[in-house]
Each structure stands twice: as structure tokens, then as C-alpha cells.
């Protein structure tokens, strides 16, 4: 008999909602912390807080449309502060695809435990960097340097920090 449905039970794919203040302020605060705190500390510059928030909202709501809209909004917000050589839409496109993919994946598998959160954050971070590289290099013709080792280490750092961030953001979930 062929397998149909998700890889987890119906109970485990609970859909969460968030209050409007959380939907507005969590991404905003994440972008501001990224710009004004993490960017100023050299060894934390690889941490991408807006990316983690996008993943969190996408897998918690399990709705691809809201996932890609959230990713688009957070990405564009990141683009706004990235300087004149960085056209609006580079992070927007990357996080739109990540938001859509994460919410689609959230429909299929359990993303509540730390192990699965670590894995999806790691994989999606590599995908995010790849999409960004593709947009910058392919669409805009910018010279970008791709380093597998750097991406792998950054993904690892983001995955570890992501577990803590997700744990903190779980407080804002509403059934």
C-alpha cells in the first residue's frame, strides 16, 4: 500500500498562530539586531537572525503563502539597510523561496524537536546562500566569491544558534 500523507502524525503538525504585535515586531527587531548589533561584532557577522525568524514563522504556520509573504517582507526589510550597491529584492527573493520551502516542508515533517530544527536550519541556510549567490551572480552580474567551507561553518553556527532562537520564539506561539 503506498504511503500517503505526511511523515508525521496529524497531532504533530499542529498549526500555530501569532498575535499581530508578534508578527510585526519580531521580524523588525530581528532585522534591527542584525544591523545594529550582530553586524558590529566580527565573529557574529555570519549569524543571520532574519533568516531564522523566516524559518520559524514558516514552519510554525505551515502555510506556504504566508510563509513566502513573511520571507518577502523580512528580506526586503534587510535589503533596505544593505547599502546602495545592494538593490532591493536580493534578500527578498532568497527569503521568499526559503519561506515557501520551509512552510511546505513543515506540512510534511515534524519540525518541533531540536534535531529537526537543526537540520532544516542548516540545509535552508546553505540554500539561502546559494539563492543569494545565484541572484547576485546570475541576475545582477556581481562578482561573488563562493566558499564551501565558509558556508558550511556559517550554516553550522546558524543551526546551533537557531535552536536557541526557536526555543525563545516558541513563547509567542498561540494555538
Amino acid at each position: 500500500m503506498p504511503f500517503r500523507g505526511s511523515l508525521t502524525s496529524r497531532d504533530q503538525v499542529a498549526v500555530y498562530e501569532f498575535g499581530w504585535p508578534a508578527i510585526i515586531f519580531i521580524p523588525l527587531v530581528a532585522v534591527l539586531i542584525q544591523i545594529f548589533v550582530l553586524g558590529k561584532i566580527p565573529f557574529l557577522a555570519a549569524i543571520n537572525l532574519p533568516f531564522m525568524v523566516t524559518i520559524f514563522f514558516a514552519v510554525a504556520r505551515r502555510n506556504p503563502i504566508s510563509g513566502c509573504l513573511t520571507g518577502c517582507a523580512i528580506g526586503l526589510m534587510q535589503d533596505l539597510f544593505a547599502g546602495p550597491s545592494h538593490p532591493l529584492g536580493m534578500y527578498g527573493i532568497a527569503l521568499t523561496i526559503i519561506g515557501y520551502s520551509a512552510s511546505s516542508l513543515g506540512l510534511k515533517i515534524d519540525v518541533e524537536n531540536p534535531g529537526s530544527r537543526f537540520i532544516i536550519t542548516y540545509i535552508f541556510f546553505v540554500a539561502h546562500q546559494g539563492i543569494y549567490y545565484g541572484v547576485a551572480h546570475g541576475l545582477l552580474g556581481q562578482v561573488q566569491q563562493w566558499s564551501w567551507s565558509h558556508v558550511a561553518i556559517s550554516a553550522l553556527a546558524n543551526a546551533v544558534i537557531g535552536i536557541l532562537v526557536f526555543k525563545f520564539l516558541d513563547r509567542f506561539k498561540q494555538r
Binding site: 557577522a45 506556504p64 513566502c68 534587510q78 539597510f81 544593505a82 547599502g83 545592494h86 538593490p87 556581481q142
Partner: protein, 465 residues
């Protein structure tokens, strides 16, 4: 149809959002903002966030200052003692440098050499970054209201940081020198080779467009060349850490910036640069003979004769022991030989070879005319050996080749640094040029090829006043 839309609703929404963003990207690439302009969305976003961030950063600084200046004073007495000792040591050094500076300014005045001075600066605090590894933009808490404009240089005492790219009412964006879109006119401090300092997406800065046949050593200091018309000439940029052969006949010179770009907190924005002649008030009276010695061609002096009609020994060497005919010959040849090197094509809008003929020609014409002219090579060349009229001729490191003819592999090497380089060694090994060249009569010397700097005779005689 409804079934199709319902079934692929998610994908259609995704495609629509991506399509809109790609079109927006294309529009931005097609119509880039001009210098100083900015997207309205960015202006609103940054203007909204800046006051809050400025307040937070200043509050944080106040707390830090309070702690460091009032509470945490451990070790201050010891540090004070050490600083006092250092001041004493620096006073001694200062006296030595002051004399060098006076001589350099005097020579600059003689040559009508205009120098760029940082006139006014505005201190600013770094309040934020772009927040991504791909863009290294910094945000400062000073903007239009403080007189900041695009393309102003941003520096620290340690070295240059970058330039202003966009200005908002209360803040501004700095493009650091390690950003991939940055380019700074830079030069190597000792060899004076010029190139363009570029950043990269991973934050590594490289000095580009230095020919691969040039010799560049790790550890060499890099300074601004002034060629970009943004940074004043001579500001520290960084140090060379590695040199590798690159593509297209250029070296790949990796440079570590002097300023800690990833930890910079306070900076100075250069709001005004003035170009003026060095102040010669405190330099003592200038003699007309000095100016004429620099600017006018002279005739060779007849050797003085004594009562018996024999030439007096040493009369031809003028007033300075270093200004021997050999020195003048070597220096003049160096200037002549340097000309082809100085005619290298300019690269990338900046001319790496631009200042080369100046230094070489100066050395060539300046060497024979005693102390004043002999030092004329000094402003450009850090080790004015070839043109130094104050050294005995035997100690001058003349770039002679095997035939005794002066060569200059690089125009700026008119004053080659001492070392194992063959160019620094005299041809015959005893630091004295071959007699045939030494005794070469002045009119037969290779003429100075620089029309701006006519040659003076090698005998060191002052021109008629």
C-alpha cells in the same frame, strides 16, 4: 480553471511574488540611483531607525565611558609612568624629525610643490552595519545636517576607513575599503609604486594593477596616492601581507588595512581638503641662488687655477663633497633611463606611473647643485641616496650597470634602497663609479629629458645670481 488555480494556488502566489521582485531588480539595475540620490523607501526606513539607534549607541557609550573613566581606573598610575617615559623618548625623536620636515618643506617650497592638507573633519560614531556579510556598509550618526556629503573620506588615526556613499538627514553610509565595490588610489610607501586598492565579497583587500616585474615585499606599508581625488595623499592604508603573481601581468598583493574595519567605532569624516603651498615662514630665508639653481640651466664652471696655473684640487666638486661629477652623471642618467618607465600607460583611470618621472627628473637635475639641489630628490624618494648631495660620492648607491651607465629599472628608484639588489651596488664593487664615467665632461652628459626640469651641470657650482 478553478480547480487548477486552487490546486496550484501556492505556487502561483510564489511565482507572482518572485516575478514582481525580479522586475523590481531589473528596474533598479536599469535606472541606478545617481550619486547622492537614494530610494525613497530606504530614506524612510533609515530615517525612522537612526534616531533610536543613535540614542542607544550614545547611551551605551556613556555607560562605557562612565565605567572606564571613573570606576575602572586600575593600572592608570603605571600606564601614566609608561606614557611619560614614551613622551620623553618621542621628544628626542621629534627633534630629529623636525629638522627633516623643515628641509622637506623648504624643498617643497622651492619646487612649488602643492600639498593636500586635511583642513576640517567631523567626528562621527559608527551606529550600525548592513547586517550582512555580502555588504560591508557602515552607518554613521552624522548626516546632511552636519555638512556631510557623498564622496567624503572617512578616516581614523590608524588609517583610512572608506568613503561616504549616501547621506541622510541624520546619518550617512560609509563604503569601507574592504567592500567589493570599493576602490582607492594607493601606493607602496617605500617603492612608490601605485595601484588601486580593492575590496572583495569576503572582505579581503588587494592592491591591484602593480606590474608583475616590480619587486614588492610583505610588510611594506601602503598609503593613499591621492589619485582618486577623495583621500588626501599619504594617509596610511595598510600593510602588504602577501605577494603572488596574478593574472594579466599584474601582481596580486594582499593588504591588511591599518584601521580595524570590523571593530571601528569612532571615525573622522574629512569635510574639507585644501591644497596649498607649504608654509615657509619658519624655514629661514630663501636665497635667490637656491631657486635659480633649481629652475635655471647653468653652464659648467671653469676649474679654478692657482697661481701656477694648475687646477686646484677639489675645485670642481663645488661646495659639497657629495656633488661630484660622477654623482651628477649617475643621477642624470638615472633620470634619462627612468623616462621610459615613467611613460607606462595609466591603468584604470589612475596613473600608477604618474609621479615617477617627477622624482626621477628631480633627482637627475638636482643632484649636482650642492646641498640644496642634492636633496631635491628627497620629497618623493624615501632614501635619497642617488641624489643626496650631502653624502660623499663613494657612499652613494648609484644604479650603475656593468658599463657604468646609470640605469633605473623604475623611475622612483632614483634613490634605490640599500640592500642586495644589483641596482644598489656600484658597478666595480668599490662604490666608486668607473673613472671613465667620472671624468666625463659635463656637456657630454645625457641631457635631462624632462623639459620642466632643466639639467644643471654636475660640478655643483651655483648658477650666476
Amino acid at each position: 480553471m478553478d480547480t487548477f488555480l486552487g490546486r496550484y494556488k501556492n505556487l502561483i502566489v510564489l511565482a507572482a511574488i518572485l516575478f514582481v521582485q525580479i522586475i523590481a531588480l531589473a528596474v533598479q539595475v536599469h535606472r541606478p540611483t545617481q550619486g547622492g540620490d537614494t530610494r525613497l523607501l530606504r530614506l524612510w526606513a533609515i530615517s525612522a531607525v537612526t534616531p533610536v539607534e543613535t540614542a542607544v549607541v550614545h547611551a551605551q557609550k556613556w555607560v562605557n565611558d562612565s565605567w572606564n573613566n571613573y570606576a575602572y581606573l586600575r593600572g592608570v598610575r603605571r600606564e601614566n609612568r609608561e606614557l611619560r617615559a614614551e613622551i620623553e623618548r618621542m621628544k628626542v625623536e621629534d627633534a630629529r624629525y623636525a629638522e627633516d620636515a623643515r628641509m622637506a618643506r623648504r624643498i617643497q617650497a622651492l619646487l612649488a610643490f602643492k600639498e593636500q592638507y586635511v583642513d576640517t573633519t567631523v567626528a562621527a560614531q559608527v551606529i550600525g552595519t548592513s547586517g550582512s556579510e555580502q555588504s560591508r556598509i557602515l552607518y554613521l550618526d552624522k548626516g546632511l545636517k552636519d555638512g556631510i556629503k557623498p564622496d567624503m573620506a572617512v578616516i581614523t588615526p590608524a588609517g583610512i576607513v572608506g568613503k561616504i556613499v549616501q547621506v541622510f538627514p541624520d546619518s550617512s553610509q560609509v563604503l569601507p575599503i574592504n567592500d567589493q565595490f570599493s576602490g582607492v588610489g594607493a601606493a607602496l610607501k617605500s617603492s612608490r609604486l601605485q595601484g588601486i586598492l580593492r575590496g572583495s565579497s569576503n572582505g579581503v583587500t588587494t592592491l591591484q594593477y602593480v606590474m608583475s616585474d616590480e619587486k614588492v615585499e610583505p610588510g611594506e606599508e601602503v598609503i593613499t596616492s591621492g589619485g582618486d581625488r577623495i583621500f588626501p595623499k599619504g594617509l596610511p592604508v595598510g600593510k602588504v601581507v602577501s605577494v603572488e603573481p596574478g593574472k594579466d601581468l599584474f601582481l596580486n598583493i594582499r593588504v591588511v588595512p591599518s584601521a580595524r574595519l570590523d571593530q571601528v567605532e569612532e571615525v573622522l569624516i574629512v569635510t574639507k581638503i585644501t591644497e596649498r603651498m607649504p608654509d615657509g615662514k619658519d624655514l629661514g630665508p630663501l636665497r635667490a641662488s637656491d631657486i635659480l639653481a633649481e629652475r635655471l640651466p647653468t653652464v659648467p664652471a671653469k676649474p679654478e687655477v692657482d697661481a701656477t696655473g694648475k687646477p686646484k684640487p677639489g675645485a670642481a666638486s663645488g661646495t659639497t663633497p657629495g656633488a661630484t661629477p660622477a654623482t651628477g652623471t649617475a643621477a642624470a642618467h638615472a633620470g634619462a633611463a627612468a623616462t621610459p618607465a615613467a611613460n607606462k600607460p595609466a591603468i584604470g583611470g589612475l596613473s600608477p606611473a604618474a609621479p615617477k618621472p617627477n622624482g626621477a627628473a628631480t633627482a637627475a637635475h638636482g643632484a649636482p647643485s650642492g646641498t640644496t639641489a642634492g636633496s631635491a630628490g628627497a620629497p618623493k624618494a624615501p632614501k635619497p641616496a642617488a641624489a643626496s648631495g650631502t653624502r660623499p660620492a663613494g657612499t652613494v648607491a648609484k644604479p650603475l650597470n656593468g658599463t657604468g651607465t646609470a640605469t633605473a629599472p623604475h623611475a622612483n628608484t632614483s634613490a634605490p634602497a640599500p640592500g642586495p639588489s644589483p641596482a644598489n651596488r656600484p658597478a666595480n664593487g668599490n662604490q666608486t663609479p668607473p673613472p671613465s664615467k667620472q671624468s666625463k665632461p659635463a656637456p657630454e652628459q645625457t641631457p635631462n629629458t624632462n623639459p620642466q626640469q632643466p639639467s644643471t651641470p654636475p660640478n655643483g657650482e651655483q648658477p650666476p645670481q
